[in-house]
Subunit: 210 residues, 2 copies
């Protein structure tokens, strides 16, 4: 770990940086990226506006820092959970549960992520998206490999593993979004997602040929 070698100065720098990010997160996630000014962030973080620019080159890079940091945490936690499980079905099960849990623990960030982004610098955002997409893609590939292993073992039906991953992610996202919008009217369990994903909706052999 490098952590120990950080001097007081560095730690102070990082603490200030964190204070700014925390202030920005609260404001962004409740008001939306654009309805928050740098002055407001500065006020909440108890710094002057100018100081923010010593830590982040501009407003968008502050936003990017928040998003990328949390996404990395998210993926890291997800990986640690998933690596722990044994057979393919348990891995999928653990993955879905982890998704739901981490999602619910980070609703502020989800709202921040979904909040409208209206920056003008196209390229910076494109860079962010690319980095994020790469990370998400590597997570999907990991799941795809699990799916393939499951197929080899005869647990899962033979199909394009990417399709399997897309289906699973789609169902999860759909449930999570619905739960975000209607928290009370939409209670659900990981098991319900898993049941749908594993077994589909048809009654087994419901009057058709076996």
């Amino acid at each position: 770990m490098e952590t120990k070698t950080l001097g007081r100065k560095e730690r102070e720098y990082l603490r200030h940086r964190r204070e700014i990010m925390d202030a920005a997160l609260v404001l962004f996630s409740s008001n939306g990226y654009h309805n928050v000014t740098m002055n407001q962030i500065a006020a909440r973080a108890e710094f002057a506006v100018g100081t923010l620019y010593k830590f982040f080159t501009n407003k968008e890079s502050l936003y990017n820092a928040l998003i990328t940091e949390k996404l990395s945490e998210y993926l890291q936690e997800w990986e640690s959970v998933v690596d722990w499980a044994a057979d393919e079905i348990s891995i999928i099960r653990a993955s879905v549960k982890a998704h739901i849990r981490i999602f619910n623990r980070n609703l502020d960030y989800v709202r921040l992520y979904l909040s409208e982004t209206k920056g003008s610098s196209f390229s910076l955002r494109a860079g962010l998206e690319k980095e994020m997409k790469t990370k998400i893609r590597s997570m999907m590939e990991k799941v795809a490999r699990v799916c393939e292993a499951g197929m080899e073992k005869g647990l899962f039906r033979r199909m394009n593993p990417l399709h399997m991953v897309l289906a699973l992610d789609g169902i999860i996202d759909s449930f999570l979004m619905e739960g975000l919008e209607n928290p009370e009217a939409m209670p659900f369990e990981a098991d319900q997602i898993l049941d749908l994903f594993f077994n589909g909706v048809l009654v087994p052999d419901g009057g058709r040929n076996g």
Copy 2:
């Protein structure tokens, strides 16, 4: 039909309105909502900026007009297709196929919509207005009733119909988004979505109890 009773004036008004909307769509969908100015739209539509404000109270309402118009068309076409089908499985099948077809025919609008919501592939319906959400909700309820009917008939397993709809929509959105981002690397058929939704991924009775 009211259409015939429209005088020349009204038709001209509507034509001008349409010209403005067409210009806006082209610019928005290729540059993104925030990177297009009212002056640019005016130039392309061959009107003066001020004129745009005779047709739309502001930039956002022009954007909303584009989105709501297209979404209504989308839903109307979807309904006409779905009403045509017979049994519940055929209805679901027709619904998925219609979704894919209409989506592919309106990629410009999809990009326009995504440009406003900053390109998150999270959920297609994350950033819509209340009115639009109501419409989509009523579509979902329609599908939910089909699902319930299917359960009554013993075609589908008993479950919360909303869950069934969410799962189906989630899978569709997930496939469509992937196809939008990797058009060449991600060919898929409606049947693959339907197979996943209907049958799930597990091998039927794959070594477990029947």
